[in-house]
Symmetry: C4
Subunit: 229 residues, 4 copies
């Protein structure tokens, strides 16, 4: 049951570490089985060095954990909110990667300063609002998810597959666990490059909407011509 998805999710978590986005046991990736609506996610606080597919935890969209499974990542409720709110996503990744986290801590959305950004994200990457006292004292991790969803009121989550949670760090998503990880890698790289861009040219604006869309659309959608199709 879900063995293939467990392999994919385990491999996606390990890919996060190989990409240098992980310190200690931080970070987590999940994947969703579209037919059953079940989600597979990394267990909480497990070492990457000994991580195995069998350790991956199965939860349903209401957060009920499979019998005999380990405790899932403490961020699981955030993942589940995203799967319920953003139709079409099949993977979610969360990291504390250095530069994306710096933007999150700075409570700034990440402007689109170049084509590297535009290749994967069609516009600025939103920052969430701070959680209020009620949300912090309530179901904190689910409330984090709701704050993310509110930040996408006017943004298409499949065109901008990532967010910065204020004072915390980034979440990304995609058509699979592997795609969510790819978007975490790109987000970290563009967060770094954007920071350097501002250091070199304070006040510079982002690239034009036309250049942004040219790059996004040559990789995504009906007219895409990047890759081997």
């Amino acid at each position: 049951m879900l063995d293939e998805l467990k392999h994919q999710v385990c491999e996606a978590n390990l890919a996060l570490q190989r990409a240098g986005l992980v310190v200690l046991t931080w970070g987590n990736v999940s994947g969703m089985d579209a037919d059953s609506g079940l989600v597979v996610i990394k267990p909480s606080g497990v070492d990457y060095d000994t991580m195995r597919p069998e350790q991956m935890v199965v939860v349903d969209l209401d957060g009920r954990v499979g019998a005999g499974d380990l405790r899932p990542s403490s961020d699981t409720p955030t993942h589940l909110v995203l799967y319920r709110a953003f139709p079409g996503i099949r993977g979610v990744a969360h990291t504390h990667s250095t530069h994306a986290t710096a933007w999150a801590q700075a409570k700034r959305s990440l402007p689109c300063y170049g084509t590297t950004h535009a290749d994967n994200f069609r516009g600025a990457i939103p920052i969430t609002a701070d959680l209020d006292a009620r949300a912090l004292s309530g179901d904190y991790e689910a409330e984090t998810g709701h704050a993310i969803v509110r930040a996408f009121a006017d943004v298409a989550p499949l065109e901008v597959p990532g967010v910065l949670v204020a004072g915390h760090g980034p979440f990304t998503w995609g058509a699979s666990a592997a795609h969510a990880v790819e978007n975490s890698i790109v987000l970290e790289q563009v967060a770094l490059t954007a920071l350097l861009t501002e250091a070199l040219a304070p006040g510079i604006g982002g690239i034009s909407t036309q250049l942004r869309d040219k790059h996004f659309l040559r990789k995504h959608g009906a007219g895409a011509y990047y890759g081997q199709g």
Copy 2:
């Protein structure tokens, strides 16, 4: 005698190097045996590449070195002051890791700008006062320890398990040598991220006490729910 602790302390020193926190022979980690009150510490100036458990040095809390042992780390008196002053700690680590050292050289305490910091440190990481001429010309390494203890007059050392020594670098501690090293790793990462946060948002304040405590307490204390418990 203390063979198990020697293995743990040697391994903790090597973990410091594997984490990229070490240049040349810099850095040192110790562990304390609670029953005997003896401390095991890295010898002075020994290469990490050839380090072995048998080389670890045993000292008592007054600094007397075991017969036949190598010379202990020159920072040993600082470690001993911390073991005597902070009940409950069983490991101490010292590095010159890049970004924590930059904050120490800048003579600034490290604000809590995000949940990554709050996961391991419940508040700002203190900076020591400069040592005065008397302390510098006296028992320098022990005086460094006393300066650290003074910086914790109003801070709980088990809740903020690290410090920046002005003009020098960080010390961290924990429930074991391995935990002290883990805190050195986290301190270096939050020192880096905090520096970038300030570059992106000069004058930004830290996260709220409520968010800080939410994260610290989901990993530590009676209500913790991170990891496999």
Copy 3:
């Protein structure tokens, strides 16, 4: 046919990755066979981990792809414009390397702040003008090439073998695919060092023309005395 060049181009692409200039499948290197005027280039969106010489794509200078070949890099038309416009170049490399891309996104030319720069580039590395709406909606990748050529109206491309494309990233070239990659490595390093130089000494000017030429000419041209000749 062109087997040797395919090996060289494949190896040059892998060298780009080994040098740390590549994230995911980004970046591409080509080489030109001077006799036939045929160009060999990396296929689009192929993993570096499984890249083989046989996958390299042959195109002519008008962009016609060899029978049975994979789809060439989407940036191929940019490479072809450069081969046609800059006589004597036999290799072209394109990356999104972090610091060169930051300068490109900052829309600034890269000043010559030191002898490291002057060893490979005889002067500032030009920035292209933004593409206008017509160019963006037309043959975008060829237009990128034309913008590069316009930036070299008063610069010798064999003496300054690289450029920053505004809002995008760097291209470099040289006497072979391997030399183009070497210039990408140097460009990334001098882009990093120049950024740090400005942070340490805002407003500092570049080195003198005399020092710059001393270094460029001790490695290039008739009087060169670097290397084993």
Copy 4:
């Protein structure tokens, strides 16, 4: 003849690369045989990956190359000036390491901001004056050496074993080729940390002379107590 020194110098050059201070074929290390006054140095432009002790070049203090040897590093005349001017040094290293080069390009001496610096360098690391037109058009590499020597008119080269050459990069030296490399490693690390220190605390002064000397003297001189003696 000098086989042992050739091994040491080859190994020191490779240590420079292992320490991450080298890009491409940049950098060079030499060692002097005190009895004969002969100097062994890396050949010019040779790959680190295939470097062997037999390739190391022997030159006398006037720059005459041993029969049958490869061409020595183009920076050899700079090394020779230092051996002649600074009695007691037996090794010299030159790199374009990133952060030391940034200070050199910024034409700033490197202040002593912490004990990491003071452990190996007893005070600020000097910057040379720019070479004038005559020096640039004359025996350039020897003139670089003379500029270094002038920067040490009031500084003891054995207590501050390194320099920043304006617009170029660092040279370091020591009691052997290996010690010269160690000083290059420390210089790069303190150049990085000092840059970050200034970013965090603009205008901060260096550490006190007393703290600086405490650290330098606990590792060097008659009263040293660091290491295993």
